[in-house]
């Protein structure tokens, strides 16, 4: 049995190609049905996100399986097989396992280490499970992969540090204030960006929310969503001293918060730090504020460069994630090999038992005048002989499962005992 992955992602195919080949949930269902119907593959699963489309199958014959996947992909898109060939990558067996583990850990994602992919794979897995298009091998593979994805993110720093501007702002706030439980945030402007940043801050436990907007009704609406207080635009300056974090996101053509406004309140605030997040263009916060002691002003470019640095920091964890993947691939390999030898051991035992029964019958037929007790002795003798004879081969076959070139040994065992393992049937 082989595990085969074919697919494309943001690295191999441009968006024009990816959008044609991405599966809607309806299409996914149909694809899973055709996987169930065909004899070319035994198990199959479809993973389709905006950055990748991948088909995972288990098949005994590689060629047939590849042909099947290509046909499937071209049926569900407008792409010809030739065009597909130029963008598709193929991984088989342990390479396929490694690939899946990399994908699930976020190593193959556009944003290194991102967590969404784990959820998307889980979703695809659930769909395939419901449709019963997967069986033991893919079931085990994907269940293991979720473990890998989780380990990568908890044991290494691959998912640490914000990868988006609004989240980076929250992390900076955390680096200044520690937790945000005591902090008050003042939002200038009630736009989408301010709402997103505000939401992240509130999720991280900000104590109080104050919203100011030129159109007061919008301020009220936003404040209501976060159980905050709305203030009229004219009160911004008088309320500034209450805030520990200020989000600037207005459409104003000039600075809304000027240095002299801040300089005055810092000592009133007992030198408690004050953090300005300026996501407006043109800017709302006068950059000179950053030069004041205990005041920090970050504009959109500063936040972008923090995100950049964060992603570089994540790259350092790739090595650690790869180590986890390597170990997990090995453990999957062992599982699969051990599974492979079970039928061999079974048929070895069956064969021996068959011979024992035949010979026992024949021998007992010749011996008429023995009693039950003597029969039992003979029976147990034969049983003990085959058991002892088979003990070492059984142990060794299990060992072969996990040594290099183990398959060669296993074939030798098959040949030596003239076994027909179930796989060859």
């Amino acid at each position: 049995m082989n595990i085969i992955i074919m697919g494309l992602n943001h690295k191999t195919a441009p968006v024009e190609v990816r959008e044609q080949i991405s599966f809607t949930s309806q299409e996914k269902e149909t694809a899973l049905e055709s996987i169930i119907e065909t004899n070319d593959v035994q198990e199959g699963l479809v993973l389709s996100t905006c950055n990748r489309t991948e088909i995972y199958v288990v098949a005994s014959q590689l060629k047939k399986a590849k042909g099947f996947i290509k046909k499937l992909l071209s049926n569900f898109s407008t792409l010809s097989i030739e065009k597909l060939n130029s963008v598709l990558y193929t991984y088989t067996n342990l390479d396929a396992v490694t690939h899946l583990y990399k994908v699930v850990s976020g190593l193959d994602s556009m944003i290194l280490g991102e967590e969404q992919i784990l959820g998307q794979i889980k979703e695809s897995f659930t769909e395939a499970k419901q449709k019963e298009s997967i069986d033991t091998i893919l079931h085990h593979l994907f269940t293991e992969s979720f473990k890998v994805g989780k380990r990568a993110r908890t044991e290494t720093s691959i998912n640490d540090n914000a990868a988006s501007v609004s989240y980076a702002a929250v992390e900076l706030a955390n680096k200044i204030f520690g937790d945000l439980k005591e902090e008050t945030v003042l939002v200038l402007g009630a736009g989408e960006m301010s709402e997103l940043t505000l939401k992240n801050l509130v999720d991280h436990g900000v104590k109080e929310v104050i919203v100011a907007n030129r159109t007061f009704s919008k301020a009220v609406a936003l404040a209501d969503r976060f159980e905050g207080e709305a203030i009229p635009w004219q009160q911004v300056e008088s309320c500034l001293h209450k805030a520990d974090i200020v989000i600037g996101s207005t459409g104003a053509p000039h600075y809304v918060i000027r240095q002299e406004m801040v300089a005055g309140i810092l000592s009133y605030r007992k030198n408690k730090p004050l953090f300005f997040i300026d996501i407006a263009v043109p800017r709302d916060i006068e950059p000179e504020i950053h030069n004041l002691d205990n005041a920090y002003a970050y504009n959109i470019d500063d936040l972008e460069s923090v995100v950049e640095a964060n992603l570089q920091e994540r790259e350092k964890a790739i090595k650690d994630v790869n180590q986890i993947i390597k170990a997990e691939v090995k453990s999957f390999d062992q599982w699969r090999n051990t599974r492979d030898v079970v039928p061999i051991i079974k048929s070895l035992r069956e064969q021996a038992e068959e011979i024992r029964q035949q010979e026992l019958e024949r021998a007992l037929a010749k011996l008429d005048d023995i009693d039950e007790e003597e029969k039992d002795v003979i029976k147990s003798l034969t049983y003990k002989i085959i058991n002892k004879l088979l003990h070492t081969p059984t142990v060794q076959v299990k060992e072969f499962a996990n040594v290099e070139d183990g398959q060669v040994y296993l074939q030798a065992v098959n040949k030596l005992f003239g076994l027909e393992s179930e796989e060859e049937q």
């Binding site: 908890t154 044991e155 290494t156 720093s157 640490d160 540090n161 900076l172 955390n174 680096k175 200044i176 204030f177 520690g178 000592s267 007992k270 030198n271 408690k272 730090p273 950053h290 002691d293 205990n294 920090y296 970050y298 500063d302 460069s305 923090v306 640095a309 964060n310 920091e313 350092k316 964890a317 090595k319 650690d320």
Partner: protein, 276 residues
């Protein structure tokens, strides 16, 4: 003598390995998320360090405050114990990558120092001397950590000022936490220093009939005391947060270093730890 010496070598060896592991994990490798294991080795070292001090007490029948060798061991023990507490409470492990190697060097240095225990005449032994020295060294340990935390504050502050996150941005705790921690440490250290000095004054009065002689050590201790008094005064009445306060704790630490080590090489009556 043999017991405490053996324990000293064992402590030194464990601290040495802990240093390597902390530096590797906290400064060189990518950050690992759940890694409590490395702390255990270091904690074992701290435990043996404790036994080492107990062995000295049993062997000499007196607190480990009799010479530079013993006080260095006591001093570094204080730092190790308080650091362990900080690591546990604040998950501030990168500090260990600096504290542990420095402790290792201090103990390594101590292992070369002469250790003559008979340098303290019986008549000088007094409860006041025990309080004086041990409390002051405990205070010094606390101040040393306040110094480290302040340096960490300044590093983190610089990162936020320059808007260029580097390795330390990711590994150091939040500014406010560092600021509060250093305040907390000074608030512990200051009363210890005060009690220690007062105990010394009483002891001096008991032994020599003179309470204060204005020798170099006493002058410098006064300066140190004043620096930390200024720190607390500014924090509480002028709300000095952050950078300025961090600078004061650094100056305070330099004064301690000079008082303890610098003056140790000058002959000062009663305060000379180098001569036996």
């Amino acid at each position: 003598m043999a017991w405490s010496r053996g324990l000293l070598w064992l402590t030194l060896a464990i601290y040495f390995f802990s240093s390597i592991i902390y530096i590797k994990q906290e400064l060189i490798q990518a950050k690992q998320n759940n890694n409590r294991k490395i702390a255990y080795l270091f904690q074992l070292g701290a435990l043996i360090h404790t036994f080492c001090l107990l062995a000295i007490i049993l062997e000499t029948g007196y607190l480990p405050i009799k010479n530079l060798y013993e006080t260095l061991l006591l001093f570094s023990w204080t730092i190790v114990i308080i650091y362990n507490l900080i690591e546990y409470l604040y998950k501030f492990k990168v500090l260990g990558a600096f504290i542990i190697p420095l402790n290792t060097i201090a103990i390594f240095y101590a292992s070369f120092l002469p250790n003559n225990v008979d340098n303290l005449p019986m008549e000088m032994r007094s409860i006041w001397l025990s309080i004086h020295t041990s409390v002051i060294f405990f205070g010094y340990g606390v101040f040393t950590l306040a110094f480290c935390v302040s340096v960490a504050y300044l590093i983190q502050e610089k990162q936020l000022q320059e808007k260029k996150p580097s390795m330390f941005y990711y590994r150091l705790p939040a500014l406010n936490k560092l600021d509060k921690l250093s305040l907390r440490l000074v608030m512990i250290g200051f009363p210890l220093l005060t009690i220690g000095v007062l105990a010394g004054v009483i002891w001096s009065g008991e032994i020599k009939g003179v309470y204060w002689t204005w020798n170099a050590k006493q002058i410098w201790t006064t300066i140190t005391w004043l620096i930390y008094a200024l720190y607390l005064h500014n924090r509480f009445s002028k709300n000095w947060q952050g950078r300025k306060s961090a600078y004061i704790t650094i100056i305070g630490f330099l004064a301690i270093l000079f008082t303890y080590l610098g003056l140790a090489f000058l002959p000062v009556e009663f305060h000379d730890f180098t001569q036996s």
